[in-house]
Amino acid sequence: MTFFLQVVINAISIGSLYALAALGIGLLFGVMRLINFAHASYITIGAYTIIVPSTAALATLYIGNWHWALMTAAVCAIVIVLAVCTEFIVFRPLRHADPATLLVGSFALSFSLYYLLLLIHGGRPKAVDIGRGLIEHIAIGGLTIPRIDVVTIGITVTLLVALGLFLKKTRYGIEMRAASEDFRMARLLGVRANRVISIAFAISGLLAAAVSLLYLSRVGVLFPRMGIPLVIIAFVATVIGGMGSLFGAALGGFFVGAVSVVLQTILPLGLRAHRDAIVYILVIAILLWRPEGLIQVRAVKERV
């Protein structure tokens, strides 16, 4: 029973991580129909900012050495600035292009940033030691849970609530929701396109920074491809969750993450390596069952 509960908590924790990643992708998709592959770069670069730039195999902590609150704030700030800059330089000129162009543009950006990182840091994985306290287990009601799981779930819930309040109660949140639904009409009511999009990128950057730090604490290693598996899953999750629905994106991410963990536990040893394949087969199955995703958003469906 305890084992079962521990697996459940781990599943919720990983699910939360993927939900955050999916939210970052889903937000930009909702507002500008952009699937931002550069989100992987935001996550990776966010993680790499804690060390001194060098191609040495042994990483020297710089920001990583600061007090955890300061470090978190610094990483968040850097990634937010990065995200907003990429919007200004790459995505604003492409604003009226079709989705395929936007997609390849975001990929080309991600490609460039990846190799730029390689240029500066080299390709070898580097071990880093941050959040040492998070690996410890804490005892809650007879269970021993890794602190990182509790922190991940806690931060995810906090961010979700904050985002929800922002979207529901604040002026810019309402503008963003309106713009996601009908960008043109929002502009006709005076909503400033550039501002809404910049804010969306900033929030996306914040979410990326959160994922970055949580993931890094978990794996303890920096490697240039860090962000990519997270974003692929986030991308997939957003679609099965239902495009155009932020709640759906989070749900999709959570679902894929949780199922991955559960499968890892219950699959017989021989099949465990194929876990990812099975997850993807499930994804196809879900798409065949509910092509518009788990949460159907009426605004996105075409009316005939």
């Binding site: 002026r171 309402i174 503008e175 929701r177 309106a178 639904e181 009908d182 043109r184 009409m185 929002a186 502009r187 006709l188 009511l189 005076g190 909503v191 400033r192 396109a193 958003v297 009426r298 605004a299």
Partner: protein, 241 residues
């Protein structure tokens, strides 16, 4: 109030609108009427700032308006109610209305305007917290108009208000527009139906093939044959410019 001259708007290399001259005076309802593809919506979208003209000028309150971006056109006092209502279905009725008040400089005045609108249109008060997507077609059209009113425009552009509505709702919408005019609002309306345009407007511009074929006060044109000829494109003798 609004002066459009020599307007030319192109889609690619094709001119959708050529040499359009249009004036709207304060406090009147002017209608652009014409068959599909005449250029009425194109003209309206250009005034609203969504399209950039290839040639020509637009002046509003004696100041140039040509080339102003959409968001700024609204701030100058021109609001467009586009074709098809386009309310935000996933936002509540109240959120739809609040969105329009964000550009207002005086927040308190805007808030009280919002309450007044709710009183003026009880159906909106009733469904205040419901997602706007649940309203019926006619209710949505009322919401769209109410929402645009909250931007406190000096000139309202309305693109095909009757589209997709039952005759009873069309009548209601026309009543609302006329009521607005009597309260001092200036309106430029696009209509496809000659009958409805004649019923609503003070002055009419008949457009066809991207040009103004005929214009004049409704009273003068109503009983003539000229207007039908202009609309349908028969050969006319001695037509008014």
């Amino acid at each position: 109030m609004l002066a459009v001259s020599d307007l030319e708007v192109r889609y690619g290399r094709m001119a959708a609108v050529r040499g359009i001259k249009l004036d709207v005076g304060a406090g009147e309802i002017v209608c652009m009427v014409g068959p599909n593809g005449a250029g009425k919506s194109t003209t309206m979208l250009t005034i609203a700032g969504e399209l950039t003209p290839h040639a020509g000028t637009i002046r509003f309150e004696d100041k140039p308006l040509t080339g102003t971006s959409v968001e700024n056109v609204v701030r100058r006092g021109i609001s467009l109610v586009p074709e098809g209502r386009r309310i935000f279905g996933r936002l509540t009725v109240e959120e739809n209305l609040r969105l329009a008040t964000f550009i207002r400089k005086n927040a308190r005045e805007a808030a009280s305007d919002l309450e007044r609108i709710m009183e003026q249109f009880p159906i909106l008060q009733e469904r205040r917290h419901a997602p706007a997507g649940r309203l019926s077609g006619g209710e949505q059209q009322i919401l769209a108009i109410a929402r645009t009113l909250l931007t406190k425009p000096k000139l309202m552009l309305v693109d095909e208000p009757a589209l997709g509505l039952a005759p009873m709702m069309v009548q209601l919408v026309h009543e609302i527009l006329t009521e607005l005019r009597s309260e001092g609002m200036t309106l430029l309306v696009v209509e496809q139906s000659l009958e409805r345009a004649l019923a609503l407007a003070d002055r009419i511009y008949v457009l066809r093939d991207g040009q103004v074929q005929l214009t004049g006060p409704t009273d003068e044109l109503r009983d003539g044959e000229q207007i039908e000829a202009a609309y349908f494109g028969f050969q006319m003798q001695g037509a008014a410019p």
